[in-house]
Amino acid sequence: MKVHEFEKIVNKLGMETRNSRDRHAWFVHNGVTVVRTRRSQGNSKFLPEHKIRTQLKVNESQFSGLISCSVSKQDYINILTEKGLIPKMP
């Protein structure tokens, strides 16, 4: 995947980022850090799409939707909730 696609996901989900050697991104929901991903900022510009997708806990179509416009932040929260990664609200 491309760097701008990675950044699009990070911006859409409002992920917390930290730039060190790599660019780490953390998805925080209601004060709880739920998932994380990252991309390299070094010489290697290779972004392994399937690895990043796995870190974000989504399938291929959901991942494509995150890059495009078909999966919103709320949709993503719902996906993680269904997977049990975010506790359901009482």
Partner: protein
């Protein structure tokens, strides 16, 4: 007194007309025996086999064990198993247990990339006051089995 004899001069064209010099034409003037017409070449004892690049043996291992990470405050107490693969001309090392990876132009670069990433994740997951979801709690526990904070002894 000895007198120097005159060396006879013989034209090359008349070489074979001179007494005592004869020319015999051989029927087979081929340089090598195998060049003779109708000669059946002997079977070679050299076995040649053409292989695709993908079928060639690879010096790069499929799995490596990582025993150190680039952080003086952390130590690896149990070797971390990394799967090695090549994708899009980049080397990728993966710790599938926690879905973490490192990439680079060489295996060394990929391992170094992974090492720095693991360091970052460790410190984030172990920050005081941080609240983690169930997946990251599991990842933190898994990393804790392999990596621990080093206790510096004062002199």
């Amino acid at each position: 007194m000895a007198t120097a004899g005159t060396t006879p001069t013989i034209e090359s064209a008349n070489l074979f007309d001179q007494p005592g010099i004869s020319f015999t034409k051989h029927s087979n003037l081929d340089v090598l025996q195998s060049q003779a017409r109708g000669h059946v070449l002997p079977k070679s004892n050299v076995h040649a086999e053409f292989l695709s690049v993908a079928a060639l043996p690879n010096a790069r291992p499929e799995r490596v064990l990582l025993g150190t990470i680039a952080d003086p405050d952390l130590r690896v107490v149990r070797a971390i198993p990394l799967d090695v693969s090549v994708e899009d001309c980049a080397v990728l090392v993966s710790w599938t247990e926690i879905d973490e990876f490192g990439s680079g132009a060489t295996m060394s670069e990929a391992i170094e990339d992974f090492s720095h990433s693991l360091r970052e994740i460790y410190h984030r997951l172990n920050e005081s006051g941080v609240r983690l979801g169930p997946d990251l709690i599991s990842i933190k526990a898994t990393i804790g089995q392999y990596v621990q904070r080093r206790h510096h002894e004062s002199a």
